[in-house]
Symmetry: C2
């Protein structure tokens, strides 16, 4: 049997809330004593605020940010610098040895600049090619938690802004070669909900059959569908389990006592 | 005999000059194929420029920057984020596997907030306590070059702005427990000069006796004395050799064919 590892993504709302982030990192540090852990963090609102303060206008197309050269500079500073290093420093303070990496570090995550499709050029946005499993496994086996910032590189000297959900998914898939991996998407909601406004309507388990039924009956909030499609894609690529739930109950998410567990059977 | 390792500091002027930085990183990448290398980078003018753009006034006392909370945020973003990750991405492009770390990452460099002396409070400035030799040696032995940003932490959750010269020196001293270490300070000058304005007046070798003589005869530029005192302190703590010279001839500095070599005999 392979050892178990957890890849945990925290959403921007947690990163933006100092108190919630601290509580989350406390739980993470406690779990670190007997689990192999990878943390993937998003960016939160700090990058947008910094851009505003610097007078840089953020271009958006269909709700997605265009990463021009100035924006890439900002997200590199904020995600790989400020947020990543502060998370690592706080984990160290809680007795959890952690290392913060961008995709360039140790060639952790290789990506390519997103191909221009139609009229939309997303700029310096990266689509993931490979995750460096030996590098991450070596650190995890030294009992060092890995904290990944959503910045990758193309091995041609270009840093790339990359979706944190995708990084979590690709990392979970890559680590499945050597571990039994659970992928956790933790955010401010309690899980996949039957009623998007009611945190008590969590669906405890979803498998392919029940997912189809939920979609047929239009019981799933549209915004959740890409997340679930990604979850099943991860399961089809070696990940054992995907859990979606509230970052404030991390331990229960890992135990399967809270959130929505997505499995492939 | 212990293997040889090089700890190389690059000055701010090189970091600020894209062309010089690229040439330096090319040489560094070439040397990486058969050397164990640590690179320590300073900050350059980018942090000051960003602070100006954000309307943050930099406080200086006796030529030294005071690191208030806002300044710490900026140097964390610029040093540990922008500069560090861009250096690593460029090294990766040149075929040199590198990993960028702040002192918080893997608890690489533990420091404490500088004690207030007299009326001067340097704010979030860090004085180094310990460098994590096993962590760095493990990476070096995986043939990964380590790129250190001048940001440390106190293991209580606080990041600290730390002098890059000091980080280079302390890292060289710590690695001397397992390697024969040469510490290289590379910058825009050709070495320790008899005439500060004439790059052809490089003193090839300095030992304690010749240093005393140079000081007695007031032949050394005052600004160089703290650097030389630090060099001898490093030699007294296990470092084999200190080289000071021009970043544009890195290979020759490592071979002892350029710059000033400082030895303890």
């Amino acid at each position: 049997m392979m050892p178990t590892a957890f890849v945990i993504k925290i959403g921007g709302n947690i990163v933006d809330d100092d108190k919630k982030l601290d509580a989350f990192l406390q739980s993470f540090a406690t779990l670190h004593s007997n689990h192999l852990l990878v943390l993937v963090h998003g960016g939160g609102k700090l990058a947008t605020k910094l851009a505003e303060r610097m007078g840089i206008t953020q271009q958006m197309v269909e709700g997605r940010r265009i990463t021009d050269a100035e924006t890439l500079k900002i997200v590199t500073m904020v995600y790989a610098g400020y947020i990543n290093k502060n998370i690592v420093a706080r984990l160290q303070a809680s007795g959890c040895n952690a290392i913060g990496l961008s995709g360039a570090d140790g060639n952790a995550i290789l990506a390519h600049k997103r191909i221009v499709s139609g009229n939309t050029d997303y700029g310096f946005a990266g689509d993931v090619d490979t995750v460096n499993t030996p590098l991450l496994a070596n650190l995890l086996e030294q009992h060092i938690a890995v904290v990944l910032a959503p910045i990758t590189h193309d091995k041609k000297g270009q840093l790339l802004n990359t979706n944190a959900d995708t990084i979590a998914q690709e990392t979970a898939k890559a680590l499945s070669r050597v571990y039994d991996v659970t992928l956790v998407y933790s955010f401010e909601k309690s899980g996949v909900l039957l009623d998007a406004n009611d945190n008590t309507t969590v669906i405890p388990t979803i498998n392919p059959a029940s997912y189809q039924q939920l979609k047929d009956e239009q019981k799933i909030f549209a915004g959740m569908i890409p997340k679930l499609d990604n979850a099943f894609s991860a399961l089809n690529n070696g990940v054992k389990k995907v859990v979606i739930g509230n970052a404030e109950v991390l331990k229960q998410l890992l135990n399967g006592e809270a959130g929505t567990t997505i499995i492939n059977e």
